[in-house]
């Protein structure tokens, strides 16, 4: 109805039209998207181009096997009309579903990696190949890489468009090395671990040194190598005060010369004395199979903590030692 009245309006005389403009007819407001021209502006309505209807979104025209990197060649905000996925995001109201992607601010706020699909990355790699050298053919397995190049250096370079090409984050250097590839004996290894403290990971046996105290990357790398050299040489040296190491400093439980050993020897000696078997000496007792067993059980109990397994083993070994049925 309103659409039919529009062309009728067009045919009206300009004079009659201006008369209409002053009247407070309801039709101007019923026409969608056709704001009433302000009285100061005298552009005629039919001079302005008609407003276009919204086109269908681009997703409807996308083929399944299209070239996605050309849709998102660079990092761009999420465009719901360009991403053909029925993504929903948002906290749903009661008995509702999360909001759809059209006009969804949440999807706009979060970072998206639509420009870094595996296909896109493959293309980047292909382009970068021209600038790379060949991987050495001899290093075809992880173990060989470990063996020949035990030290791994991680650095990061930052490129951004801005007034300056420098980025202070670029000076950080991380040095990773496995302690098994270093030539360390038992004492040296324990001393090194104590010296580095938090930087050593027990499960992966990797020492990580992260340096950023110098202003340049080159200087930080030199400093990290220097630290590694110093740690290695210092851990091989034994100082005078190291012989004051107490039981509390020990990393793991050592059975020889412990109170457990003393207790068990005393007990056994008393048992032997009760049986009038005084010829047995300490060394003999220490050599028996039961004591070996007991020693293993106590060490595992102390080092690994209590568990059903360790406790029952300990119980059995004590029973055998004390000759209980």
């Amino acid at each position: 109805m309103a659409a039919a009245s529009l062309p009728a309006w067009r045919r009206l005389q300009p004079g009659a039209r201006t008369l209409r403009a002053f009247s407070t007819a309801a039709s101007p407001t019923t026409l969608p998207g056709n704001p009433r021209p302000s009285t100061t502006e005298r552009t005629s309505r039919f001079d302005r181009p008609p407003r276009r209807k919204a086109l269908p979104p681009r997703t409807e025209k996308m083929a399944v096997d299209q070239d996605w990197p050309s849709v998102y060649p660079v990092a761009a905000p999420f465009k719901p009309s360009a991403v053909p996925l029925p993504v929903r995001m948002g906290y749903p109201v009661k008995m509702g579903v999360p909001m759809a992607k059209e006009g969804n601010l949440e999807l706009l706020k979060i970072p998206n990696f639509l420009h870094l699909t595996p296909v896109a990355i493959k293309k980047h790699c292909e382009a970068l190949k021209d600038f790379c050298t060949e991987w050495p053919a001899a290093l075809d397995s992880d173990e060989k890489c470990e063996k020949h190049f035990p030290i791994e250096i991680d650095t990061a370079d930052y490129v951004s468009a801005g007034p300056s090409i420098r980025n202070p984050k670029a000076r950080v250097v991380t040095l990773r090395v496995k302690l098994s590839s270093l030539n360390l004996d038992d004492h040296a290894k324990k001393k090194l671990i104590k010296l580095v403290g938090e930087r050593y990971c027990k499960t992966t046996d990797v020492l990580t040194i992260k340096t950023d105290r110098c202003p340049l990357k080159r200087q930080n790398y030199d400093y990290a190598m220097y630290l590694l050299t110093v740690l290695y040489h210092e851990s091989w040296k034994t100082e005078d005060w190291e012989k004051n190491k107490t039981e509390a400093d020990m990393e793991e439980y050592i059975w020889t010369n412990s109170s457990s050993e003393k207790n068990i020897l005393e007990t056994l000696l008393q048992i032997k004395a009760a049986e009038k078997n005084l010829e047995v000496t300490k060394e003999e007792l220490l050599g028996t199979k039961e004591i070996e067993d007991y020693k293993k059980c106590v060490v595992s109990l102390k080092n690994e903590g209590d568990s059903e397994n360790t406790l029952s083993q300990y119980k059995d070994s004590v029973k055998r030692l004390l000759n209980l049925t």
Binding site: S260, A274, D306, E308, L311, Y314, K315, L322, L324, T325
Partner: protein, 401 residues
């Protein structure tokens, strides 16, 4: 379930005085008659209770069954040893029934085969790895004590070592050793109970050394241990030293073979833990500075023979230990473990299905479970699920039903 429980709680509260009055005044025979009038309870009694009341004769086949301890014995053997909830249950049912369980049977077996010439073996009862508290360690210890009492051993029972390291009112500086502290109240209470338990031994054992209390009083060599105990009870100031003397003499003399000594300590992890006691200048006192603890530590060392040492670990009542700690090393700490090594750890776990069934039957017989669904299979499954077979938890749950 919860609504039902709350309604029942209010019902039981109203019913309480009358219900217990009925049980208290009527003799057990009329109770049995009353029970017989309802459904026949012959078979449950056979499952849950055994007539073998001598712990020495308990064997594998009695496992899971309750046996009756005569109430007269309870007063002498356990003046201070029972867990409070069990004592209440004893008063309610007017009988003391203990369940025979595997850990206790194991310990009994070891004790029966003890070689008294060898140094005392240490046994530590601790929670098994699927249960924490309330698994029955203290009651297993009571079972052992009953056995040893029947076998005429001398019982040295410390009901809860944690009571000696916390909340002590008077701390005196020890007259014997200036660095240590005395606890007169705790020591005198313990001496009274010790006297009740071991009355008959006190006159037989003679001390072998002269001890001087102070300038005017002393105890001569050859006088009986009973006199030392009397002195400790009457003169509260010297109570701690009296305890020390008792422990020393017992240790020395049990090696001679006159009697067998059972040292039973509940909550032994208190001996090597921290205390909450402070000196006048608010500095904390370490456990070894308490004379009672010092002497007790010497007692649980295995340098004497002629008996056995049975101990339990307990987290409830322990100080400064996290609630989830129940493993021996966690509760004892490094010092405690080194001091007790070598020991035999005995794990006490939750009820297995047979024991659970037996416990429920026992409660049903004593009309403790009043809920109408308590004797159905579903009700039992529900109780099993809620309590996870934990004896302490089951007892608390059944208290509401």
């Amino acid at each position: 379930m919860l609504k039902g429980v709350t309604r029942l709680v209010s019902r039981v509260h109203k019913l309480d005085p009358g219900h217990f009055l009925r049980l208290g005044t009527q003799a057990p025979q009329s109770l049995a008659a009353h029970l017989d009038n309802q459904v026949s309870f012959e078979s449950p009694r056979a499952i849950s209770c055994t007539s073998e009341n001598d712990p020495a004769k308990h064997e594998e086949k009695h496992e899971g069954q309750h046996y009756n301890l005569p109430l007269q014995d309870m007063k002498t053997i356990f003046p201070h040893g029972l867990p409070p909830r069990y004592a209440m249950q004893m008063k309610t049912f007017n009988e003391a029934c203990l369940m025979v369980r595997k850990p206790a049977l194991e310990l009994l077996h070891y004790l029966k085969n003890t070689n008294f010439a060898h140094p005392a073996v240490r046994y530590v009862l601790s929670s098994a790895l699927d249960g924490e508290k309330g698994t029955g360690k203290t009651l297993s210890l009571c079972h052992i004590i009953h056995f040893c009492a029947k076998q005429d051993w001398l019982i040295l029972h410390i009901p809860d070592a944690h009571l000696w390291v916390k909340d002590c009112r008077d701390l005196l500086q020890s007259s014997y050793n200036k660095q240590r502290f005395d606890q007169p109240l705790e020591a005198s209470v313990w001496l009274k109970n010790f006297k009740t338990t071991n009355e008959r031994f006190l006159n037989q054992i003679k001390i072998q050394e002269k001890y001087v209390w102070n300038k005017r009083e002393s105890i001569e060599k050859g006088s009986s241990l009973g006199e030392v105990v009397e002195q400790g009870i009457t003169r509260v100031r010297n109570a701690t030293d009296a305890v020390g003397i008792v422990l020393k003499e017992l240790k020395r003399q049990s090696s001679l073979g006159i009697f067998h000594l059972l040292v039973a300590v509940d909550g032994v992890n208190a001996l090597w833990g921290r205390t909450t006691l402070k000196r006048e200048d608010k500095s904390p006192i370490a456990a070894e500075e308490l004379a009672l603890i010092h002497n007790l530590r010497k007692m649980v060392k295995n340098d004497w023979n002629g008996g056995a040492i049975v101990m339990t670990l307990s987290q409830t009542g322990s100080l400064f230990k996290p609630r989830k700690a129940y493993l021996p090393q966690e509760l004892l700490g490094k010092e405690g473990f080194d001091a007790l090594d070598p020991f035999i750890p005995i794990l006490v776990g939750n009820y297995n299905p047979k024991e659970f069934e037996s416990c429920i039957q026992y409660y049903l017989e004593n009309s403790w479970l009043q809920h109408e669904k308590a004797h159905t299979e579903e009700g039992k499954k529900e109780l099993l699920f809620l309590s996870n077979g934990n004896p302490g938890q089951l007892e608390r749950l059944c208290a509401y039903l």
